[in-house]
Amino acid sequence: MLVARELLAAGEEVTIVERGPLRLDADSLPADRREARMASTEHNTGPSPRKGGHPWLYGYAFGGSSLTWSGVAPRLLPSDFETHSRFGFGRDWPIDYDDLLPYFREAEQVMRVSGTVSKLFPGTDSYPLPPARPSAVDRMLGPLLEPFEPLPVARPELHSHGYPPPLEGGLDTVEPSFTMLEVARELVGSDGLAIVDRAAAARLRTSGGRVSGVECVAADGSRSEISARRVVAAAHGIENAALLLRSGLEGPAVGRWLNAHTHVVLQLELDRPIDHGDAQTRDSSISYAWTEGEWRSDRASAVVIPFNPGMLVREGVVEGLASGRDGAELRREMSERFARTAVVYASLEDLPREDRFVELSSSRDALGLPRSEVHFPPDSDYVERGLQEVCTGLEERLAPLGARVVGRGLGGRGGHMLGTCFMGPEGVVDENLRHHSIENLYLAGGSAFPTYSALHPTVTIAALALRLGQHLVRDGA
């Protein structure tokens, strides 16, 4: 969408092919109803029968996975672009933080990210919006978890709606975040824009080192072909790779090095209560205490984000009821536990791994296309060492609050599909996201990441898209 925005602004013609229907108000619906049900939006990823399952969270919808995004919007750190040079793992990106800096700024403007200036992310005077005020949890934990800063988020409506969502209101307790439909609403109706919705880009037809056409299959089974001077595949890491594989554009790196961040939810019992109701947003701050250091050669970088809603009590309530506990007594006990339990989630970076990959399955989806078979074996010891350091460090740093880690579980995972078409000389695309062999094919999205950082990828994906759009404008002029 952001690539299209740049091209349309320069007077170019753009055709967008999208699996989902064009519903410009889909972001007003609850998150679980934003993706319409039809043949072209059937999720076509399956786990490898040999490697176990893994949840993959994405949206086949106009606006893509931004419709399921929670709005957490930090940049990558400068060192994240140079992990090989600095720490000896992965590959350096062919571009660096400074190359992306103007596009980070622009992406933050487009997405109306709230935040504050940080020494960790040089080159920015301000964010478009001020940050949410620190929650009670932030104020209690933050001084002991430095560097501890406001979390950049792209959900500005939050500041006016307040948190938590009122019980008397609707049922949708998901906070509103920025979605690409906000960009789409500006673009639809533009001169030069054509939209082919409810249709999957099935294959790229290539000839003489160029894409000569994009074969599409519509939800009703009809087929068509679109010709274009340049083609940008802008899907998630699994789907971008699958499109290349369906098109016979295999290569040693295509579909390989898939990554999804490990998110671990940690419960910390404290010796004093926290006012979990005192917050303006679901998450408002971030600790970089375990993010940056020479030790990244040995263990995973992590960011730690306090979860303002606190511990969800329902599992404890179920257990108490099953044990025959008195209701009033159970509620009192759960309320006390809730008040003294801080919840944080840690996002960790794993090493690039060749044994995590996408290939085409022998089974087919509702459109008759091969499904994507995803191989995603468990995290490496590198992640486990990083997590152990976080757990130990949290107890040490938070000792003045009597903190003990009393619970640890996997949090939401599978929304960051990165790395399957990485940029670089050994990868699939060059520094301008152009395919190495197909001169008019470009790959936007997280599939181009050579390494992954511990930080959330969306703003970097958006910055890369803006950079690509402006490159195409210059290149085509």
Partner: protein, 83 residues
Amino acid sequence: MRKALGLSAAETELLLGRARRRIGRRGYPLRIAAFAVATTPLVRRLIPRSARARLAAPLVHALLTGPAENLLYTGVLSNRSIP
């Protein structure tokens, strides 16, 4: 159910109303019935603990589904949100 969860009448009405809207008419009675089996003193002695948990969980999860319901159950929201 109100007694089993230690809720007031107003809290119960509020949480049940939200759960009913969320899960729809078809799933709601089944969850209520399963919860009753799991928590009625005379009946619950006849079934193992793990089965009681499985029976109670669907309704409890629907009642305490998000941050607002969580804050209500734990008393943080009770004063400012319950009529």
